[in-house]
Amino acid sequence: MGIENNLPPFLVGNLEKVVGLARKHSLWPATFGLACCALEMMVTSTSDYDIARFGAEAFRPSPRQSDLLIVAGTLTMKMSNVVERIWEQMPDPKWAIAYGSCACSGGIFNTYNTVQGVDQILPVNVYVPGCPPRPEALLAAIIKLQDVVAKETFSDRPDFRAAG
């Protein structure tokens, strides 16, 4: 942000904690359900599993308003450009969860049109295997991701404008 260069270090540390707390409790996912795992993702947002407890119920259709990309389902080569474009449209800070075996590694589909894992296209923070994984697994992944988000420091995400 730039402010961290001007503050004394002990304040920066506390600021990082506050920002991390705010970010981890308001991760807004982008709707990116591709295949069967999308159903489990939808179910996680409903009352039985309730992702709203973690602050993540606002599934934004537009990637520009979201900070979490849950890739749920098989990624095909025809779709890979779209994923890349959506990832690039998301503003920093952004995280990605590969939900389901197909997103982690191609799953049972080792065929001519399937990308063997979404990590060939974008950097993944949490992998959730399963076919499909239970909605509780998605919640566990979000909790794991929340730990990662809370521990981030400002130096992890350098300001690109300040660099050049």
């Binding site: 709707t31 359900g33 779209v82 001519y112 049109n113």
Partner: protein, 392 residues
């Protein structure tokens, strides 16, 4: 000099209302749709080619992943096709046949609930999402009781079922049957006489009977257009001719009629589940043919011959006789057909799925041209498409 050009809008593969990765390129004259070009294939995983490299038993797991909203119906279609090919149709035990009907009708209810939830969500009625998913979770619990999985069970196997139906399942299913008609009344109370719902769905996406038949449209869309045809009654399988249920027929073929037809179908499915549970006989759930059916699990753990037989069937698989069959079932979306060609080996030579959503989607141009952009969303919702089946 000003000139007006039509606007080309991309309703991209990543869209909350396209029910998956469907890309529509719309040409708009203001707000009115002039042309629609669907671009498919964003979920084309090569299932048909992959099945040619798997044995008949292994290819069953691929069928779940096509129409993932109603997976047990896909399994049923595939198993019926393979059983016809192997010529073991009369060996399927009665308990398995009745249980198949019960499971498939429960799955049909779950599929229609998902349709209603997403269709209503697209049109703005977000409450329906939560209500329908509450019921869908109950159905998933019931199915998980016997199958062990929620969305991709692979429970209906060639020759019967994978495992027996438990008493707990029957108990839960009966409790569900008691409370579900009241829930459908809730949904109808929210939507059927709702002025906004009717204005957004009536008179939209109309397709005539003759056009439906020309486009090979099947399922609730065909019945809403007024054609009295249901595979369960006209080309029955699994003993459906002995059950007592009605087929709802629509009048105008618009989006509202399709909604009404599917709601009535849910009520009829409850009747079918009740009848199936009432007549569930005792007995085995897997046929006794040692050439194709695996031996019971307790024998596998105790006798060496059963273990060897099980191993051989699961690893190499069984050889199917040479020939080709086409078998179709009435899935939630329409006529789901399997065309299997066998060359005498353990793997299907050609595994063709007749996808109802793919064929129904072809008529989208006729249904949306002349309507407005927001109506495209309503029409897509009423067609009840699942991209896993369209693209395979």
């Amino acid at each position: 000099m000003s000139e007006t050009k039509n606007m080309i809008v991309n309703m991209g593969p990543q869209h909350p209302a396209t029910h998956g990765v469907l890309r529509l390129v719309l040409e708009l004259d203001g707000e009115t749709v002039v042309d629609v070009t669907p671009h498919l294939g964003h979920l084309h995983r090569g299932l048909e080619k992959l099945a040619e490299h798997k044995t008949y038993h292994q290819a069953l797991t691929l069928t779940d992943r096509m129409d993932y909203t109603g997976a047990l119906l896909n399994n049923l279609g595939y198993c019926l096709a393979v059983e016809k090919l192997l010529d073991v149709e009369d060996q399927i035990p009665d308990r398995a046949t009745v249980a198949r009907v019960c499971l498939c009708e429960l799955q049909r209810i779950a599929g229609h609930l998902l349709w209603l939830a997403t269709h209503a969500l697209d049109l703005g009625a977000m409450t329906m999402l939560f209500y329908c998913f509450r019921e869908r979770e109950t159905v998933h619990d019931i199915l998980e009781e016997v199958t062990g999985a929620r969305i991709t069970p692979s429970f209906i196997r060639v020759g019967g079922l994978a495992d027996d139906i438990t008493d707990k399942f029957i108990e839960k299913a009966r409790a569900f049957i008691k409370e579900f008609p009241g829930r459908i009344d809730e949904y109808e109370g929210l939507l059927t006489n709702n002025r906004i719902w009717r204005k957004r769905t009536e008179g939209l996406g109309i397709i005539s009977k003759e056009q439906c038949i020309q486009y090979s449209i099947t399922g609730p869309v065909l019945r809403a257009a007024g054609v009295d045809w249901d595979l369960r009654r006209d080309q029955p399988y699994c003993g459906y001719e002995t059950y007592d249920f009605e087929i709802p027929i629509g009048t105008t073929g618009d989006v509202f009629d399709r909604y009404t037809v599917r709601l009535i179908e849910m009520r009829q499915s409850i009747r079918l589940v009740e009848q199936a549970l009432d007549r569930l006989p005792d007995g085995p759930v897997m046929m006794d043919d040692f050439r194709y059916a695996p031996p019971p699990k307790d024998a596998v753990y105790e006798k060496i011959e059963s273990l060897i037989s099980h191993f051989k069937l699961m690893s190499t698989g069984y050889k199917a006789p040479k020939g080709d069959v086409y078998m179709s079932v009435e899935a939630t979306k329409g006529e789901l057909g399997y065309y299997l060609v066998s060359d005498g080996s353990e793997k299907p030579y050609r595994f063709r799925v007749r996808p109802p959503c793919f064929i129904n989607l072809q008529a989208i141009k006729d249904m949306t041209v002349g309507h407005m952009l927001a109506d495209v969303v309503a029409v897509i919702g009423s067609l009840d498409i699942v991209l896993g089946e369209i693209d395979r």
